[in-house]
């Protein structure tokens, strides 16, 4: 296991933003009422916010970041790193984080970079930026994590489009010599890379007219090579096998008692079937596992920060110790154990289409 232990870095706040359009599972033309009932019961998703009017992840993250910086009363000049974790960047080049440094009015002394890591995005962001901060030269960082995943999918792909939602989140990290260690375990199963893939638009297969030709794969799956696809069986078997092992190994190594030492377990909200299997395999008390999948769907890397915004904004005013488990694209998976106290969480913001979308 690739284990990281981050010292002297503390999570200070989390904010989230969603687009204004909400779509119900019952709205999809490819689902009968009975299909929709089964989907809600099994997968657990009733509603999701979608970026219907050309909103980008950067627009949603900007709104979240502005709210967070205001709520923290941080001087923008004090922010030394801005990271943008997303697979739905504004452009192929330049990195969206550079554009956002200007848009957010951050100083030129701010280091920026993009991290396109998918569903483990929150863990990667904390791992990379946290490690960069632990020697104390950089005191503050804003980690943006967000995607407009629904814009990657074919509208006629029943196996993919209903699973996802769009949002932007912002997380604040600060150097703090009294901070409890953040512990991470990160892993990769590259052999499974085709289970979650966008076949065309990279340099392996550049965009051509063929990229837009729809093909009917049966079972309600109609898509073109430009669209992202999911192999449901492969992703499910991966997600119910590997993350529980990582969780158990990390708990055992650090002698952490899941029942007495942890206040909350934040599981990537991919699919209720997967969440429930992880809960069962690890023997977690369901009362400690907050869920927002019903109304947000799978938010990619932003899923875990959004859980804190939507489900724990009051509870996290007090000291809490939490475990986060994420898995997805790559395929990658990881576990993170961290503590927070008096976490600043402004209310969930809604980006209206009349707002300035760049």
């Amino acid at each position: 296991m690739a284990e990281l232990r981050i010292k002297n870095v503390c999570l200070r706040g989390v904010a989230g933003a969603v687009p204004e359009t909400m779509v119900s599972t019952y709205d999809y033309p490819f689902f009968s009422h009975n299909d929709a009932d089964n989907f809600v019961k099994t997968v657990g998703i009733k509603n999701r916010y979608i970026a219907l009017h050309g909103e980008c992840a950067s627009d949603l993250c900007t709104l979240a970041a502005e709210n967070l910086i205001d709520s923290l009363h941080w001087d923008k000049e004090s922010i030394g790193i801005l990271s943008f974790e997303s697979v739905t960047a504004d452009y192929r080049t330049p990195p969206t984080s550079c554009i956002l440094q200007h848009r957010l009015g951050l100083p030129e002394s701010c280091m920026t970079f993009d991290l396109p890591m998918g569903c483990c995005g929150f863990l990667y962001s904390v791992a990379v930026v946290g490690k960069m901060m632990q020697d104390g030269n950089i005191k503050r960082a804003i980690l943006l994590i967000g995607d407009t995943i629904t814009r990657m999918s074919s509208p006629k792909d029943k196996s993919r489009i209903p699973l996802f939602g769009d949002c932007g989140t912002a997380v604040a990290l600060e150097y703090d010599e009294n901070a409890a260690d953040i512990i991470l375990d990160m892993n990769t199963y590259g052999k499974g890379y085709e289970s979650l893939i966008t076949p065309h638009s990279g340099f392996r297969h550049q965009v051509t007219p063929k990229s837009f030709e729809y093909e009917d794969f049966g079972n309600g799956i109609v898509r073109a090579p430009i669209h992202s696809l999911i192999q449901g069986m492969e992703v499910l078997t991966f997600a119910i096998s590997r993350p529980p092992k990582s969780i158990k190994a990390l708990l055992e190594k650090y002698a952490i008692d899941k029942d007495n030492d942890l206040d909350y377990i934040l599981i990537h909200q991919a699919n209720l079937l997967i969440i429930n299997q992880i809960i069962k395999k690890c023997g977690f008390d369901t009362a400690k596992v907050p869920m927002n999948i019903e109304n947000f769907a799978n938010l990619g890397g932003a899923s875990i920060p959004m859980l804190m915004v939507s489900e724990l904004n009051q509870q996290l005013k007090e000291h809490k110790k939490m475990l986060a488990s994420a898995f997805g694209l790559g395929l990658t998976w990881g576990t993170m154990i961290f503590e927070t106290e008096n976490l600043i969480i402004p209310p969930l913001a809604v980006l209206h289409t009349t707002d300035n979308v760049k």
Binding site: N34, D35, N38, F39, T42, V43, S159, N219, Q231, G232, M233, E234, L236, T237, I240, S241, L273, Q277, K280
Partner: protein, 75 residues
Amino acid sequence: MDIQQFIANVAEQFDELNVELTPETRFREVEGWVSLTALLVITMIDDEYGIVLPPEEMRQTNTIQELFDLVKSKK
């Protein structure tokens, strides 16, 4: 492992009650089988038999008996 119990466990994954299954039933051809059913069957096998079936091996099975034999071979 008991085939009758296995059949009952698979039948529970269908939305319809009283779905009639035998060892010879080609499960993907049963009315009510959708792609979600496959995910439910994988999850049931994980819960009841402690095996996570590799998808490529599961795809090669057609009848309940073949699926049962695959699970048994992994035990």
